[in-house]
C-alpha cells in the first residue's frame, strides 16, 4: 500500500464525528494543561490511561495526539505571557517572546508562535508520514541484537545529552531501571524486588509511576516553594500579525522546521537543542540583529517552529521502532502496551489503520490548534489566574483518582505517595525525571531483547555484535559518551574557543571540580558500556 492511500484511509477514520470530537477534546485539554503550571502532556496522558480503557484504541490515540500537540502549543503561550517557561523546550521562546509581550506585541508573538507551530507541525507530520514507513522497511530486517543496541543508545543518549549534570542523569536512570525490575520475571517467573509482597508481583503499574513522579512530585515540590507574589500575566487580545511580521517570520518557520524534525527523530532527540540552534541561527541571519534581546519576532518564530517539528519528529522512532525519546512518547508507548498493541516495526503492518488514523489526526490536531487557539488566546491568559490552591489540590485529587482506578486498591496510593516523595527529592536535587521514566518503560524491553539475542547465540556475548547495525550503534554510542570528555580536553588546551559550545558551558561553569568529576563519569561510563557488551 502506498503512503498516500493509507493516509487517506487514516483521514477517513479520523474524520468520523466521534473521533473528531476526541481530537477537539484532546487539543483543548492539551492546550489547557500546557498553559497551566504543574501539568504537562505526559502527565495528562498518564492520568487519562485508565479512563480511556473503555474507548476504542484509535479514539484514545487520536485524543492523545491532540494532547501532545496542544501541550507544546500551550507551553509557548505561558513562556510568552509569563516569562517562566514550563517546559525546557520553550525556554528559548521566552527569551524574545516575553520581551515582545512587554513591548506591547504579545498578540504578534502569540500569532507567530501559533502559525509557526502549525506550519512546522504540518511539514513535520508530512515528513513523519513519508519517513516512518521507510524506517519500518529498514527496521523489519533488524534482529534482537540491533534492537538491543538501539534501545541502549536511546537510554544512554537521552541521559547523557540532556540536562546539566550527566552524573545525576545516570543516577535517575539507575533508579528507573530498578523500578522497572520490580515484579515477576517474564521468562522464569522469578519474583524480583517484591519483598514477599504479593501486590508487587505484577510489577509497578506505569500509570502509578508516571503520575507519582510527574503529578504528585510536582505538587509537593511546588507546595514547598510556592511563589507568594502573584504572577504578572501580560494581558493580550486576539493574536494577529502585520505584513512586516509575516515577512520576517516565514523563513525562520521553515528553518526552525528543518532543525527540529531531524533532532526530534534522533534517539537522543528532544526539542532543547534544535530550538537553541534555531535561535542562534536566526540571530545571525537577521536583518535586525539589534532587536535580539529586545523582542525580535524571528527569535519566537524559529524556535517555536523547531519545537513543534521536533514533536512530530519524535513520533517517527515511536511509531516505526517502538522507541520513545521524550516523556510524552514514553507514556504513549505504555498506552500501546496497555491496549495490547505491540509497538515496533510490525505496528504498521499489524495496526495499519490505527497508525494512519493517528498520523492523520496529527494533521487534524494541528489545524484545530490554529483554528481554536488564535481566538482563544485571551482565555488561556485567564486560565493562568486560577487560584493555586485549587490547581494543585485538583492535581493531587485527579492523580489519586487516576492511580486508584487502575486496580482499585489503596496499596497503589501508598506507592503513589512514596514515588511522589522520590519525585520531590529529584526536583530538589536536580535529578532529571526523563531518564527515570524511560528506564522504567524501556528497562524490561531491553532485558527482553538482551535475552533473545543471547538465546540465539547460545549465551555467547559476541551474539550482541552479530549484526552490523548493532556494531555501528555501539560506535555512535561511544562517540556520544566520549564527546564531552574530548570537548573538555580540547577546551583546556584552547580556552579561547569557550563560547563554541554554549549549551555545554551550563554544566561546565557550575564549579571547577566538575571537570575532574566528569573524568570519573568517563570511567564509569566505560564500565557500563563494558557491561552492556558482556
Amino acid at each position: 500500500m502506498d503512503v498516500f492511500s493509507s493516509l487517506m484511509d487514516g483521514f477517513a477514520t479520523a474524520l468520523t464525528p466521534m473521533n473528531l470530537l476526541y481530537a477537539v477534546i484532546g487539543v483543548i485539554l492539551g492546550s489547557a494543561v500546557g498553559v497551566l503550571p504543574g501539568l504537562g502532556p505526559a502527565m495528562t496522558i498518564a492520568l487519562l490511561l485508565p479512563v480511556t480503557y473503555v474507548l476504542e484504541p484509535t479514539s484514545a490515540f487520536i485524543m492523545f495526539a491532540g494532547i501532545y500537540y496542544g501541550g507544546m502549543y500551550g507551553g509557548s503561550t505561558t513562556s510568552i505571557l509569563l516569562n517562566t517557561p514550563g517546559e525546557s523546550s520553550s525556554v528559548v521562546t521566552a527569551i524574545e517572546g516575553n520581551k515582545m509581550a512587554k513591548a506591547g506585541r504579545a498578540a504578534q508573538a502569540l500569532a507567530t508562535a501559533a502559525i509557526g507551530s502549525f506550519v512546522a507541525g504540518t511539514i513535520g507530520t508530512a515528513l513523519l508520514a513519508v519517513f516512518a514507513p521507510i524506517v519500518v522497511e529498514f527496521a523489519v530486517s533488524l534482529g534482537s541484537p540491533s534492537y538491543f543496541a538501539i534501545m541502549v543508545l536511546a537510554l544512554l543518549a537521552v541521559t547523557a545529552v540532556l540536562g546539566s549534570s550527566r552524573l545525576r542523569g545516570f543516577a535517575s536512570l539507575g533508579l528507573g531501571l530498578a523500578i522497572g525490575l520490580v515484579g515477576m520475571d517474564s521468562v522464569t517467573g522469578q519474583r524480583r524486588l517484591t519483598f514477599g509482597q504479593p501486590l508487587l508481583a505484577d510489577g509497578l503499574d506505569i500509570v502509578v509511576v508516571a503520575v507519582a513522579i510527574f503529578a504528585v512530585g510536582e505538587a509537593l515540590w511546588v507546595a514547598a516553594h510556592m511563589r507568594r507574589t502573584p504572577l504578572h500575566v501580560i494581558p493580550v487580545g486576539r493574536p494577529w500579525m502585520g505584513k512586516q511580521d509575516w515577512k520576517r517570520s516565514w523563513k525562520p518557520w521553515l528553518r526552525g522546521t528543518a532543525f527540529g524534525f531531524p533532532f526530534g527523530a534522533l534517539p537522543a532527540g528532544g526539542a532543547e537543542i534544535p530550538t537553541f540552534l534555531s535561535y542562534v541561527t536566526e540571530k545571525r541571519l537577521s536583518k535586525h540583529p539589534e532587536e535580539f534581546g529586545k523582542g525580535a519576532i524571528e527569535g519566537v518564530a524559529g524556535p517555536e517552529a523547531a519545537n513543534n517539528a521536533a514533536a512530530a519528529g519524535t513520533m517517527t522512532p515511536l511509531l516505526a521502532l517502538g522507541l520513545p525519546t521524550n516523556a510524552t512518547a514514553a507514556v504513549m508507548l505504555a498506552a500501546f502496551v496497555q491496549f495490547g498493541i505491540q509497538p515496533g516495526p510490525l505496528l504498521f503492518a499489524n495496526e495499519g489503520p490505527l497508525v494512519w488514523a493517528l498520523i492523520a489526526s496529527l494533521f487534524i490536531g494541528n489545524f484545530l490548534l490554529l483554528l481554536i487557539n488564535l481566538p482563544l488566546a485571551p482565555m488561556w491568559a485567564k486560565i493562568l489566574q486560577l487560584p493555586r490552591p485549587y490547581l494543585y489540590a485538583g492535581i493531587l485529587f485527579f492523580a489519586t483518582l487516576g492511580a486508584y482506578s487502575v486496580n482499585l486498591q489503596a496499596f497503589d496510593l501508598i506507592l503513589l505517595l512514596v514515588l511522589g516523595a522520590l519525585g520531590f527529592m529529584m526536583r530538589r536535587f536536580g535529578l532529571p525525571v526523563l531518564p527515570l521514566i524511560l528506564g522504567v518503560i524501556l528497562g524490561p524491553r531491553i532485558e527482553g531483547q538482551l535475552r533473545k539475542s543471547l538465546q540465539l547465540s547460545a549465551g555467547d556475548p559476541a551474539g550482541l555484535l552479530s549484526e552490523p547495525i548493532a556494531v555501528g550503534i555501539y560506535v555512535i554510542l561511544a562517540i556520544i559518551l566520549a564527546f564531552p570528555l574530548l570537548l573538555k580536553l580540547w577546551r583546556r588546551n584552547r580556552p579561547a574557543a569557550l563560547q563554541a559550545g554554549v549549551p555545554a558551558t551550563r554544566s561546565g561553569e557550575s564549579e571547577p571540580t566538575d571537570a575532574s568529576g566528569s573524568t570519573s563519569h568517563g570511567s564509569h561510563r566505560a564500565t557500563t558500556g563494558g557491561d552492556g557488551d558482556g
Binding site: G38, T84, R192, H225, M226, F397, R428, G430
Partner: protein, 170 residues
Amino acid sequence: MSSFPTSASRLKGRSELGVALLLGVAGVVVLVDAIALVTPYSQSDPVGPKTLPYIIAGLLLVCAVLLAVNVLRGGQGEAEGGEDVDLSHPADWKTVLPLVAAFVANILLIDWAGWVISGTVLFWGSAWALGSRHYVRDGLIALAVSVLTFYGFYLGLGIPLPAGLLEGIL
C-alpha cells in the same frame, strides 16, 4: 536562573549526600535481591533473570559513590524552577506536611469511608494546606468534584469507586 543556586546552596548544605545514600541503599537492595534468586542454568535463557539486576546494582552503586564525591567537592544539583516555584525561600514544610497528611487521610479512608468522603477530605485538606481559607466554598467544590467523579466513573466508565459508608445512599 543563575542567581538561584548561590542562595539555595547555603540553605541546602550537604543534604544532597542523602541522595547518594539513597542510591547506595537502592543498589545494595537490588544486588542482594538478585543474589537471592535461584535459577538453574537453562539453555533457552542463558542470560537469566540475574544479569540485568547486577548491571543496575552496579550502575546505582557507582552513581552513589560518584555523587558523594561530587557533593563533597562542592558540586550540587540545580533545583528545578517553574511558573509557580520561588526558590528564594527555603522549603516550606508547613505547607508540605499538611498536604501529605491530607493525602494519607485519603489512603486510610478510601476503602472504608468511600471515595466521595475521602476525595472530599483530600481536596479540601489540600486546598487548605496550600493556603486557601474559603472553608465553605472549598468544601462545596470538594464535595462536588468527588460526587461528580464517583458517578462519572460509575456510569461513564463502568469503574465502581468504593461507596463505603454512603453505600445505599449513592
